[in-house]
Every structure is written in structure tokens, then in C-alpha cells.
């Protein structure tokens, strides 16, 4: 059961974050952090298809995570989701066309490796 939840969490997180990145890049950079300006940003975002899909995916990931937390420890639940780092970086490079140089690849691999070690 726990591994089914882990698979759901990893897939939903990857999908959610990539869709979030696409939606936010389409929206453009947020410059104004005053409450009324942020309110306008939120009202624009709730009409963006990518953001809505991202939030749906994040909600699936969140509830699956809540369920996982109720049957396992946080120290198991958090590290296993490290697999999404690799998937998301690959998608960032090929789908979002980000420049992922050696520093980023090494960085992501170190982080994913480190997070995995934390579960021991």
C-alpha cells in the first residue's frame, strides 16, 4: 500500500510542479508584492488552465501524502519523494527548455542522493 501511495505522490508532484512552472512562465514575472496586486495575480491564475491542472495534481499529491503520513513516519515519507527531482529536472530541460548545465545536474544528483541517505 505504501509503495502505491509513493508512486502516486511522485507522479502527481512531478506533473503538478511542471504544470505550475509552465503556467507561471505564461503569466510572467511577479513584480508587485502588495496584497491588492497579489489578489489580482490570484484572480488571473485561477482562470489559467495550466495552474488549475497543477493545483489538481498537487491536491492528489497532498492527500496521498497525508494518507502516507498516517501509515508511515515523516522520515520515510519525505525522502522517497526524492525520485521526483530527477523526473522534474529532465522535463525542465526538454519540455521547459531550461539551460541545465553541469552545475545543475551535479546539484540535483547530490540533492536527490542526499535526500535518499536521510531515510536511513
Amino acid at each position: 500500500m505504501r509503495w502505491i501511495l509513493v508512486a502516486v505522490i511522485v507522479l502527481a508532484t512531478t506533473l503538478g510542479e511542471v504544470l505550475q512552472a509552465i503556467g507561471m512562465k505564461r503569466h510572467g514575472e511577479i513584480h508587485d508584492f502588495r496584497p491588492d496586486a497579489l489578489g489580482r495575480v490570484v484572480s488571473t491564475l485561477v482562470r489559467c488552465r495550466y495552474i488549475l491542472a497543477a493545483i489538481a495534481a498537487m491536491a492528489v499529491s497532498f492527500f496521498a501524502f497525508m494518507a502516507l503520513l498516517s501509515i508511515t513516519e515523516l522520515s520515510f515519507a519525505v525522502p522517497v519523494t526524492a525520485a521526483s527531482y530527477i523526473f522534474e529536472t529532465v522535463l525542465a530541460k526538454y519540455l521547459l527548455k531550461e539551460h541545465v548545465g553541469w552545475k545543475r545536474w551535479m546539484g540535483v544528483l547530490l540533492v536527490a542522493g542526499g535526500v535518499t541517505l536521510l531515510s536511513f
Binding site: M1, E17, V18, Q20, A21, G23, M24, K25, R26, H27, G28, E29, I30, F33, L38, V41, V42, L45, I51, I55, M58, F62, F63, M66, A67, L69, S70, I71, L74, V78, P79, Y85, E88, T89, L91, A92, K93, L96, K97, E98, H99, V100, G101, K103, R104, M106, G107, V108, L109, L110, V111, G113, G114, V115, T116, L117, L118, F120
Partner: protein
């Protein structure tokens, strides 16, 4: 005058901090709350709604909403492949908080994990937060970045005169 690149760096650092802090606090409170709520394996939404009435869960979820919004704001200009490893500081913070405040044992393997994460974060922190130039909002800033890069290539020893 502060250059756009400096502003971008500063903005990115501040928001990354907010993302990390709300994530760690939110997850910790949620975890604390779920322990008192009990086993939650249901396809019906009712038990989840009931769990929200637990004060720990409620505050945890509120913080995670702030986390989601700040994460989205950060992604409005920064690369996903930058945000992803940078926000991994959260794992380090969880371990440090556990060691300092909950007096948990941090094994040698875990310290090794923490070290690897910090090395990764330092490495990614040395890259520019934004590498894509296509979006219209980024156009002005990226032109400045290109100019700065050209200037540093042509002779970084010269002191820069800013208007």
C-alpha cells in the same frame, strides 16, 4: 542604482527562504496533527475534512497554502531546475530542527545526506536563477544580464560606472 540582476538575485533568495520556512513548519505541524488524527486511508473526502478540524492540521494546511503561493510566485521568474534543488534546504532544516528541538538522534549516514544536499544547493546557487529568455516579462532583465555578461567577459577588472 541597483541592477536588475541584483534585484532578481535578492528577490529569489528572499522568496526561496519563505518557501523553505513555510514548507518545513507546515509539514511539521501537519505530521504532528496526523499522529493524533490516526490512520487515514479512505477514498471518501469526509475523514480528510474532519482531519482539518484538528488545530495542528489546520495551521499546518494554512502554512502549506502560503508555501504553494510563494512557490508559484518564485516560479513566475525562476527556473524549475533552479527552484527544485534550492528548496531542498528544507530537508536539512527538518533534520537540524529534529536534532536541536526534538533531541532526535542524527546518524552518520544522515549527516552525510545533509552534507550532500548542502553541496548540491551551493552548486545550484552559483547558477543564474533564470536561463530562459522567451517570456515577454523577462526580456528587459535578460538584456541587462547579457550586457553584464559581455562586460565581465571583455574585462572584469574594470570598475563599473553606473548611471
Amino acid at each position: 542604482m541597483i541592477s536588475s540582476t541584483t534585484t532578481l538575485q535578492l528577490k529569489t533568495r528572499i522568496l526561496t527562504t519563505v518557501v523553505v520556512l513555510t514548507n518545513v513548519l507546515g509539514n511539521s505541524l501537519l505530521s504532528r496533527g496526523m499522529r493524533s488524527v490516526g490512520v487515514l486511508l479512505s477514498l471518501s473526502p469526509l475523514p480528510y475534512v474532519q482531519a482539518l478540524f484538528n488545530p495542528w492540521v489546520a495551521v499546518g494546511v494554512s502554512l502549506l497554502i502560503v508555501w504553494l503561493l510563494s512557490h508559484m510566485a518564485l516560479l513566475s521568474w525562476a527556473d524549475l531546475s533552479y527552484v527544485l534543488p534550492m528548496t531542498a534546504v528544507a530537508y536539512v532544516l527538518v533534520a537540524v530542527v529534529g536534532r536541536l528541538f526534538l533531541h532526535e538522534q542524527v546518524s552518520l549516514v544522515r549527516w552525510a545526506g545533509i552534507t550532500l544536499i548542502m553541496l548540491g544547493v551551493i552548486l545550484v546557487g552559483r547558477t543564474s536563477p533564470r536561463t530562459t529568455l522567451s517570456q515577454p516579462a523577462a526580456e528587459k532583465d535578460s538584456r541587462v544580464e547579457v550586457k553584464t555578461a559581455l562586460r565581465s567577459m571583455s574585462g572584469s577588472q574594470h570598475s563599473e560606472a553606473r548611471p
